[in-house]
């Protein structure tokens, strides 16, 4: 059976669809997170070298990985919006950016809190850390550009262009930062790749899945808000039950 994808790429239908989908992502996210935490804290054994501090890994690694993937997804949506002029893609890009920035922040934060006990410093200028920081800057640039343009059409296009240029640059940045750090023999500590206990792997995967589901749910919820804002003057929005309902509250 052929699915009419265009039907779902219109904000009109997507608004309702997203509303229905959110619980299917949000609840599993919460449950998987709880499971991951349980395994991570109660099943997984204490690490020999890092003692209990290593348990940050179950949060840190998923956050780091998501922050990177979300940027690519965001740039992809932005490019779709720019090329095919589909409003929904632009809105999705706009909705993903804050979540991506947030994961980047969580990665930095948990990394810093991990670094202090392990390396004795909150921060070292290691390649991975530095490129994560730059990634956060890229997100902030995208958000700032979008926010400072009043006209949404222009804002979408301008920030899409930025995201695309950024995504071309991300690999270049990543490799140059890596190269930069290995030239100097400064940082003596490397992240130790301890071979992982099976429970650790399970915990990490559970939290990772939870983060993915959470990101999707949050992006969908945010895109619903954006649709409401942008389509405020259309009839279908004014016909929505949640808009009509508010009569009572008013009188």
């Amino acid at each position: 059976m052929a699915i009419n994808w265009f039907k779902y790429s219109a904000p009109t239908t997507f608004y309702g669809l997203a509303g229905k989908l959110i619980p299917y992502f949000a609840w599993p996210a919460a449950i998987l997170f709880a499971i991951g935490i349980y395994i991570g804290f109660f099943v997984a054994p204490t690490d020999a070298t890092q003692s209990e501090a290593y348990r940050i890994i179950f949060l840190h690694v998923p956050a780091s990985i998501l922050s990177m993937f979300i940027y690519l997804i965001m740039a992809g949506y932005a490019a779709l919006g720019l090329i095919f002029n589909t409003r929904l893609s632009s809105m999705m890009a706009q909705a993903l950016a804050p979540t991506g920035a947030l994961f980047a922040f969580v990665s930095l934060w948990s990394g810093a809190l991990w670094g202090k006990p392990m390396w004795g410093a909150w921060w070292v200028w290691d390649a991975r850390l530095t490129s994560e920081l730059i990634l956060l800057f890229l997100y902030l640039g995208y958000i700032a550009l979008h926010a400072s343009i009043e006209d949404t059409r222009r804002a979408d296009k301008a920030s899409a262009l930025l995201a695309i240029v950024g995504s071309v640059n991300v690999p270049i940045i990543y490799f140059s930062v890596k190269w930069w750090n290995t030239l100097h023999q400064g940082a003596t500590i490397k992240m130790s790749g301890t071979s992982m206990h099976i429970a650790m792997q399970q915990a990490m995967f559970a939290v990772m899945a939870a983060c993915w589901l959470y990101a999707i749910a949050v992006a969908l919820a945010r895109v619903r808000g954006i649709i409401l804002e942008r389509e405020a003057n259309t009839q279908w929005v004014n016909d929505l039950p949640e808009v009509k309902q508010m009569n009572g509250e008013h009188s």
Partner: protein, 56 residues
Amino acid sequence: MNWAEFFAMKGYAFYVWGSYGVALLVFAIEIMLIRNRRKQALRNLRLMRDEMGESV
């Protein structure tokens, strides 16, 4: 293992709970902001519609 020992995390409590705590806090804030944004949008919609109603 008792709970106090568990929460102490062998002296790493601040770091471990600090990172998980802030992460959860940040997620909660994000969810709250999205809720607010939606509420604000709905409120604006209502205001606009009522204004239209008056002017007609």
